[in-house]
Symmetry: C2
Subunit: 471 residues, 2 copies
């Protein structure tokens, strides 16, 4: 592709995206395809000869779009929405264009330093403790996902608890134990599996039946019992906004418990953490100053294109102690000076792209005031949903609304609840997901997109009401 | 950003990239900044108010570009170049625009099915075994990096060798052992550390002093000795193109050895694997049909923007057995039907972006013929470097050229070799990296960019000659 051709096709790709966005409102949110439908539209082998880029654009419309569930659709309310924004997309595009690889400071200093600065900015904007700033012994890094952040936190915790023995001789037969509520994200169990502890090492602590938050006394009792039995507590995972219902564990109370045993405290605020750009939405992070590590995902609710999971630690030495390796071909003067950070030692991967540009672009083009407005809009729309639920006797709330997440059900029963949701999803008019709370089915409606208006919420609600009338 | 504003700024971002590329030849390849220089140009805090996107573009020029080592520069020859291409960048842009999240088939079917098809295409194009195709018990997946692929392979190997016990109760005190040559990539040791085995579990097997390839008899002896001592060999890592010198371990011979003990055979062809698009550059993969897993990085030498590391397994059940978790909120009919693949169970992360679009765009807009031409050009330029080395008595080759990688040194000694390289790097005229071979310093020159011409290689060589005259 010549430079002129790149400009032409690049402009066409930008326009394709703008047109795709403009079409979203008329597209079914959930893909209407069956397994194999997309595959059948594609040739069996790669072709020998070059095709023009227009052919790829054409196949996006013909093959891909019908097979997409449209995550950027204004009526996508499932899981936690992964919101993109124009500024983030262009920021990421620029990062592709630069094509720099920031595995160590020396391989492209700006990749590391812009990331450090932007993570310091975001830590301050969220009211996170000074200890997480990069100019002390802590610091922040962009991970791909919160799953990786939780796994990395566990490796750092094992490093600290083992006095460095784990990286040398493994986790061995030390009976390490990891704690989280029964509502903790599945990535906690996956992290224990990957770190060689196994899923049996994870203690699922009971939650309060109303708030779904961890029962701190049960946590204390589990740790005491384990210590007395000769087991080794290594990390406690706190959900500052659980996936199922947005439950906010009491960080400060958990911190009291873990302090006594020197257990690593990891706060997983993947979805809800970014809400703290608003001072009035920081209560769920009270106590975070005691955390050893903290993760929140700007790629969920802060308008930053996936992947962008911001992760901070109080003591980066535990992290780099667990993960550092320095082969000869990466030796360099800057690393040896100790004046720089080499992010390669902060995550499982070696290579890394310049992900900070997209977050930088979001922080600058929205400004903190614009980001607050975005968060507040999501919270307000969720409250509106809660009002709609309250106004219709066929429905009931399952838990209190948590920021932009509302969990409700049909009073008629589980079958009706799931059938009503499936009817709406199948219609393509909106897309919701489900969970179980206290053994009963519930519908989750999570607002996140900057495209979502009150009209979208109302239209979705009417679709749910119609479905409720028919199940 | 309004739709019209997105179009305008999007076109500007595309043009910024085209202009940046046009300027590369005149920029110093290696960043000319000291630690903290970039950071000092940025404000201490995020701003309150929104700025126009133009301000971000302006700061790319003012703050970022001077702090970059230009990986897309035609005279970037360090590490292994991470080559982007216009088609891949636009493919990735479209993936950002779509903003779909493919953690499971149901969350956006096209994300999964396009990836399956494109990985089947690439497997066929590289002459990989049928067993890796997605229509049998195996299959391919795009990982972020080869480090993650190697780690994932180790988790699958542990799952198989432990009969599923590892995911439940951890690696425990079973004395697992992992094997690779002393030239194996550092990610092997990192994988063992992360999987809870520790670095001591990795046996670094001696290499042939000339070829730098693994000594297969030494590997056999190590496994035999370990088995006799009651240790448990779990995985052998084969380097099909080592990082240091491009050494090609004999896959077929290693396969003979591992077969006897049922040890997992992982082939790490991160850099050199993609060369197999050329039938004449497949020798180093002879024996790959015995591999349990295989990784190569289109983001290194196949024109696909980072990150794109293609990973195949013969038996996906070992992978998903090691990594699958199904929380209630991800339960769905497609998964339960068993008719679909849920890629979430193929890697450490849960969330995943639509990375297949960029690889699809590369395969289509270059065609296999265009990709072969690109690989052949890199090999030819490397041979040209080898000729230049042979023609200058002050220099000598350290190993035979390996595809696009040439390793050489100054006869004068290690100090002079490193000083000459540093002089060229400091000048900004070209960028090279170093290694040690047999305890002696050597310069690595790896060709990879589609922008690199013979003139770039000659200019770099003249700079090295001038430096050699002065050290």
């Amino acid at each position: 592709m010549s430079p002129e051709e790149f400009r032409r096709q690049g402009h066409a790709a930008i326009d394709w995206i703008a047109d795709y966005w403009a079409s979203l409102d008329d597209l079914p949110v959930r893909a209407q395809v069956q397994p194999g439908d997309v595959r059948r539209l594609l040739p069996a082998s790669a072709q020998e000869d070059a095709e023009p880029f227009d052919a790829v654009l054409g196949d996006l419309d013909r093959v891909v779009v019908p097979g997409l569930t449209h995550w950027q659709h204004p009526r996508f309310f499932a899981y936690f929405p992964a919101n993109s924004s124009p500024a983030a997309i262009l920021g990421d595009l620029l990062s592709s264009g630069v094509g720099a690889q920031g595995m160590i400071w020396a391989t492209s200093p700006a990749v590391t330093e812009v990331e450090q600065v932007v993570l310091d900015w975001l830590a301050e904007a969220l009211g996170l403790p000074e200890a997480f700033r990069s100019d002390g012994p802590g610091g922040g890094v962009i991970q791909d996902t919160a799953s990786t952040a939780t796994f990395t936190a566990l490796l750092a915790a094992l490093h600290r608890a083992s006095g460095g023995a784990a990286r040398l001789s493994g986790v061995g037969d030390v009976p390490w134990r990891v704690y989280g509520s029964t509502q903790a994200h599945s990535s906690l169990v996956k992290a224990a599996m990957m770190a060689g502890l196994g899923e049996d090492a994870v203690r699922g602590i009971a939650t309060d039946p109303v708030t779904q938050t961890v029962d701190v006394e049960a946590l204390r009792a589990a740790i005491v019992a384990d210590v007395e039995a000769g087991l080794r507590p290594v990390m406690v995972h706190v959900a500052a906004g659980s996936t199922s219902t947005g439950a906010m564990d009491d960080i400060a109370a958990v911190a009291e418990v873990v302090r006594e045993w020197g257990v690593w405290l990891h706060v997983d605020a993947a979805w809800a953490g970014v809400a703290a750009v608003c001072p009035e939405h920081r209560d769920h992070l009270a106590g975070v100053e005691a955390a050893d590590s903290f993760v929140t995902n700007p790629h969920k609710w802060l308008l930053t294109t996936f992947d962008c999971s911001t992760f901070w630690v109080r003591d980066r030495a535990a992290l780099t102690g667990a993960l550092s390796i320095l082969p000869e071909y990466l030796r360099n003067a800057a690393t040896e000076s100790g004046e720089v950070v080499d992010y390669r030692d902060w995550h499982p991967q070696l290579g890394r792209r310049f992900r900070a540009i997209k977050l930088w672009a979001v922080l600058r083009t929205y400004g903190l005031s614009g980001l607050r407005e975005h968060i507040r809009s999501g919270v307000e729309l969720a409250r509106h949903v809660a009002d709609l639920v309250a106004d219709d006797d066929r429905f009931e709330m399952v838990t209190e609304p948590a920021l932009s997440l509302v969990v409700f059900r049909l009073r008629a029963g589980d079958g009706q609840t799931l059938a009503a949701m499936e009817a709406v999803n199948a219609s393509g008019e909106a897309y919701l997901s489900h969970t179980t709370v206290g053994g009963r089915a519930a519908i989750r409606l999570a607002v996140g997109s900057w495209r979502t208006t009150r009209a979208d919420v109302d239209r979705t609600w009417r679709a749910l009401q119609r479905a409720a009338a028919q199940v």
